[in-house]
């Protein structure tokens, strides 16, 4: 990956945000900060509201109260495509792909924000370098990929927007141990390139290894936060992940 990406300078701040789905509020006054150039992770049991938080940041769920800002811009009320255009790349939950398009076309869709075909092609080659499996499958319809292959495609497509901040929602879901390590290597690589990363993962140990900062969500609230060194020992984290013993 060697494009003309600038170093991250903008901070993402979520301040006392409440949001949810039609009936109930899922997030209650959640505040987090994602500092430029750092890896911030969000941990928490299933149904804690991690994905909801991500969706709210991206404008897929409405902000019911509170504020979200990226650099100087307020994201609340902004439609998703404009948020993405600000330089936020997304790997959504559940390795979603465009099933009736080929692998290559999926990547092209990821590159739609870029007007120059040459750059899109370059980025695509960069993705193929990371995921040779995708290169082999470039003409296959994405809907027929195996679970793990979809995951790879979903990650690659998220990176195709050439983002400054990358939001990952469980990128390693369904990947083999080898590829899980690969995903974390990618995260490290991106970090080394001075990108900002917001990571949601169930793979706690490796996540804590790579992240600088972390938050633990439980039932829609932040119950613990801090540097990962400290977080590792936090009882709330253990409660969320390993049950109360």
């Amino acid at each position: 990956m060697s494009t003309t990406r600038r170093a991250a300078t903008r901070q993402l701040s979520v301040a006392r945000v409440t949001s949810g789905y039609d009936r109930a509020d899922v997030l209650k006054e959640v505040s987090i900060e994602v500092r430029p150039g750092e890896v911030t992770c969000i941990l928490g049991a299933n149904g804690a509201g991690k994905s909801t938080l991500i969706r709210t940041i991206l404008g897929l769920n409405r902000v019911r109260a509170g504020a979200i800002a990226f650099g100087g811009a307020s994201l609340a009320g902004m439609p998703p495509h404009r948020i993405v255009a600000l330089g936020i790349g997304v790997v959504p939950e559940g390795n979603r792909v465009l099933p009736r398009m080929t692998v290559a076309e999926n990547l092209q869709v990821g590159g739609l924000l870029e007007a120059q075909p040459r750059k899109v092609a370059e980025r695509m080659e960069a993705m193929f370098a990371i995921f040779p499996r995708l290169k082999e499958r470039r003409a296959q319809l994405a809907g027929t990929l195996s679970g793990g292959e979809r995951s790879m495609l979903s990650i690659a497509r998220g990176l195709m927007t050439d983002p400054e901040l990358v939001v990952f929602d469980e990128p390693s879901l369904g990947l083999s141990p080898l590829f899980v390590s690969e995903v974390f290597a990618i995260v490290r690589h991106l970090k080394a390139m001075d990108l900002t990363i917001l990571l949601v993962e169930q793979n706690v140990r490796q996540t804590l290894d790579v992240a600088d900062h972390g938050y633990v969500l439980s039932q829609g609230r932040v119950v613990a936060a801090g540097e990962t060194r400290m977080l590792r020992e936090d009882p709330e984290l253990h409660k969320a992940y390993f049950g109360v013993h």
Binding site: A45, N46, G47, E93, G94, R133, Q140, T144, L145, S146, G147, G148, E149, S151, M152, E170, L173, G174, L175, S176, P177, L178, F179, V180, S181, Q202, V204, A240, Y241, F242, G243
Partner: protein
Amino acid sequence: MTAPLLACSGLTMRFGGLVALDGLDIAVERGTTIGLVGPNGSGKTTFFNVLTGLYRPSAGAAALADEDIFAKSPQAIGRAGVARTFQHCRLMLDQSVFDNIALGALRHRHLGLAAQFFRRRRLREEIDALVDQVRQLANRFNPAIATALFEPAGSFTMIDRRRIEICRALIANPRLLLLDEPSAGMTPEETRRLMDDLLEFRRESPDLAVILVEHEMDVIRRVSNRCIVLNFGRKIFEGSFEALIEDRDVQTAYLGSGH
């Protein structure tokens, strides 16, 4: 009763130029749990799809209790006692949890039109009995599901949906159970609970054979009796978990240096 429950030989599946399964020979005895692992795209799910009749294999044979599987339609295979979960959740999200789980039990119900219209009392009794059974089963996996049997399945989180799928497969009371990455996305605690429940169910039905696809090595270690590793559709390893961990080929193809 010495023949294995499931015996596959030379199973091959091609998609165009791609060989997804390549001459697989796999046998599964009653009462065993096979841990099936392999890198992404190595053909695990395809193997399930072929076994359940969703894909016609390009070559090879498979027998379930000495009966040719590939002579049957998917529904006949289902009725013969093969049940599965799907890697990509396939629930009817608009229907209630009960409807979803009951689907698994339908193969044991008499579905004559007249019976449904004219024997309402018996039908009601059957339904009540199944509701109780479903509630107990769901309660085991997550009490929250059991108390909301008549809520739409779409209102549950991914993990609960996966649990519902497992209940649907279990209630079919199968001879061969195929589980495709049941623990994906679960926290370690949830994974542990899932394993406990599976093991308990295993104990209750000693004849059941299970094939379990997983990328979570802990689960494979605790639940399976024997492991099989696929790579590019070929079997590259068969043996105990301990041997698997040590195997060079498996390490390079699948586990990576982390293990």
